[in-house]
């Protein structure tokens, strides 16, 4: 219901799909043959994917397929064994997580990682950190410049919190928030870093259906308002099929299918990965 007009995906020369409206623009993320081994185990292999600058992309797959590992590779928490990541055309090889963030990737975490002892608004202010213009000396002396920068930061934080419907919670301690609000606060904090692409790791986990429906609207609104790309990992198929334009399915660390939600829904390989061979046969018999 959210996306009445389904986006058409078009192939790029390198077997990569992006939304038609993003054609001619540089993909925000261009991932080529990414792979990582842990000891002898290949966790991710030959992962190739491009994300358009305003695309909402989904990354799905069974538990343990390597989805979060891919997020960790994209944010340089792990350094890849093979392959390359071009973020806005720049190779992120060798950068730290912080540098990658400043270049344009912000993320949320599957197991929520807030600054629990700090207030909600301070959590967001930490996200704004690099855009607050105030020198260390100015902070030490609390010069007028400091007050100006702090005021600007506070206003921006309240705007962002309001965007996710959280302005009334600004002064609460982050770890006192209910689960759903903590997930949304992680999104606000990530948005505060002015990313070019937002990675959401199971944003709807632990949410009830009405919260999830609200989240779906918010994800689309984030893309429309900030004109950024969103890539999300999610097990809630209503959410994935409802908001994602392009979907990649991974299993055993490899992409087994890419395409629009319709294509993915009907792909026998995907059905087999989720339901197993017997399950897939039963599914086919039913359908």
């Amino acid at each position: 219901m959210i996306q009445k007009n389904r986006t058409k995906l078009v192939p790029l020369p390198t077997d990569i799909l992006i939304p038609e409206r993003d054609i001619g623009k540089q993909p925000v993320l261009d991932i080529r043959n990414l792979g990582i081994d842990f000891g002898g185990l290949t966790a991710v292999d030959s992962f190739t994917l491009a994300i358009g600058p305003t695309e909402i992309a989904g990354l799905i797959g069974p538990n343990g397929a390597g989805k979060t590992t891919i997020f960790n590779l994209l944010t340089n928490v792990y350094q890849p064994t093979r392959g390359s990541i071009l973020l806005r055309g720049i190779d992120t090889k060798g950068m730290t997580t912080a540098q990658v963030n400043r270049l344009g990737i912000a993320r949320t975490f599957q197991n929520i990682r807030l600054f629990g002892g700090m207030s909600v608004i301070d959590n967001v202010k930490v996200g704004l950190h690099n855009s607050i213009k105030c020198s260390f000396a100015s902070s030490l002396l609390h010069t007028p410049g400091y007050y100006k920068a702090e005021k600007k930061a506070r206003e921006r934080c309240l705007e962002l919190l309001d965007f996710m419907g959280m302005a009334d919670m600004a002064q609460l301690r982050a770890d006192s928030l209910p689960y759903g609000a903590q997930r949304r606060l992680e999104i606000v904090r990530a948005l505060a870093t002015k990313p070019a692409i937002l990675l959401l790791d199971e944003p709807a986990a632990g949410m009830n259906p009405s919260e999830t429906a609200e989240l779906m609207e918010q994800i689309v609104r984030i893309r429309d308002t900030f004109q950024i790309a969103v890539m999300l990992i999610e097990h809630d198929m209503n959410l994935v099929m409802g908001v994602c334009e392009g979907i990649a399915v991974v299993n055993y660390g490899k992409i087994i299918a890419k395409g629009t939600p319709e294509q993915i829904c009907n792909d026998p390989v995907v059905i087999e990965a989720y339901l197993g061979k017997k399950g897939a046969a039963a599914h086919a018999a039913e359908g």
Partner: protein, 293 residues
């Protein structure tokens, strides 16, 4: 010949460090905490055996057994009263508490036995070996230290590998929650770990004070920290690593004292700790641990 003599002294000291380091490494591996008070348990063991020999006139072996018994009880009591209530707390809180326990033991000893340094009677009664026409002397204490260390290492390796309790320890060290779900009592396992570590600390205390016959309330703290260095050097959580780390550290210390500077010998050992943590933070034989993101 001086080189060989230093080497042997280093082995003797290193064996004692290895025995102390076992206590650190087991507690760190299983209870995931740095038991800062471990060095002071050594001191208590030394005092108990001293009182037993000097005041009660017991034979050395009985004194050793008494020291082990007292330290075992002490270790278990400390764990029960001070550490167990903090098991879910941040590591900062646990470490501060452990420092508190360390100071408690030191200052209690200060009040009981005063700060006067006592001369510790060696528990080893046989004469030193003279080799190469007396050019090389191996004291009985050195021999006993090395032998005890080997026996303990072998015993502990068999214990953790073969017995039910030992396997429970390894399970708790791998994953506490999963072990609990498999019906292993985490509290009991950690208590046993503290008991074994403290008993070993008593042995180490007796050996250390027999080799270096001075006894005062702070006698355990520096060897304690050095043994922790040895545990880190070998790799926390690994029994063979502890042996390697202990021996290496003993040799480094004796050689540093002999060839670099007497005054800076502690600084040299601490520098080793710092370098190891920076270059090879998991030690020589340790496992790499990653935080899950």
């Amino acid at each position: 010949m001086a080189l060989l003599s230093n080497f042997i002294n280093g082995l003797g000291l290193g064996s004692i460090y290895a025995i102390i380091a076992l206590g650190y490494t087991m507690v760190y591996g299983i209870a995931k905490m740095l038991n800062f008070a471990h060095g002071d348990v050594i001191m208590v063991g030394a005092y108990v055996s001293f009182v037993s020999i000097a005041s009660l006139g017991t034979p050395p072996l009985l004194a050793l057994v008494m020291a082990m018994a007292v330290c075992t009880i002490l270790g278990v009591v400390i764990e029960r009263l001070a550490y167990r209530p903090l098991r879910a707390s941040a590591s900062l809180a646990v470490l501060i508490t452990a420092i508190g326990v360390s100071y408690l033991l030191q200052n209690a000893a200060l009040l009981i036995w005063t700060s006067n340094t006592k001369v510790y009677p060696s528990i080893v009664s046989f004469a030193p070996l003279h080799l190469f026409d007396g050019k090389l002397t191996i004291t009985g204490e050195m021999l006993i230290s090395v032998l005890t260390c080997i026996v303990i290492m072998v015993g502990l390796t068999l214990f953790t590998g073969k017995t039910k309790t030992g396997k429970a320890m390894r399970a708790v060290s791998e994953n506490r929650d999963a072990a609990e779900l498999m019906g292993i009592s985490v509290n009991r396992t950690i208590a046993i770990t503290f008991a074994i570590g403290s008993a070993l600390a008593a042995v180490a205390g007796v050996l250390f004070c027999s080799t270096y016959p001075v006894l005062n309330p702070t006698v355990g703290s520096i060897p304690g920290i050095k043994a922790f260095t040895a545990a880190v050097l070998g790799g926390i959580g690994s029994i063979p690593g502890t042996l390697v780390g202990g021996l290496l550290l003993g040799i480094i210390e004796i050689f540093g004292r002999a060839y670099i500077s007497q005054e800076l010998s502690n600084a040299i050992v601490f520098a080793v700790l710092i370098i190891i943590l920076l270059v090879k933070p998991n030690g020589l034989l340790g496992k790499k641990v990653n935080e899950k993101v």
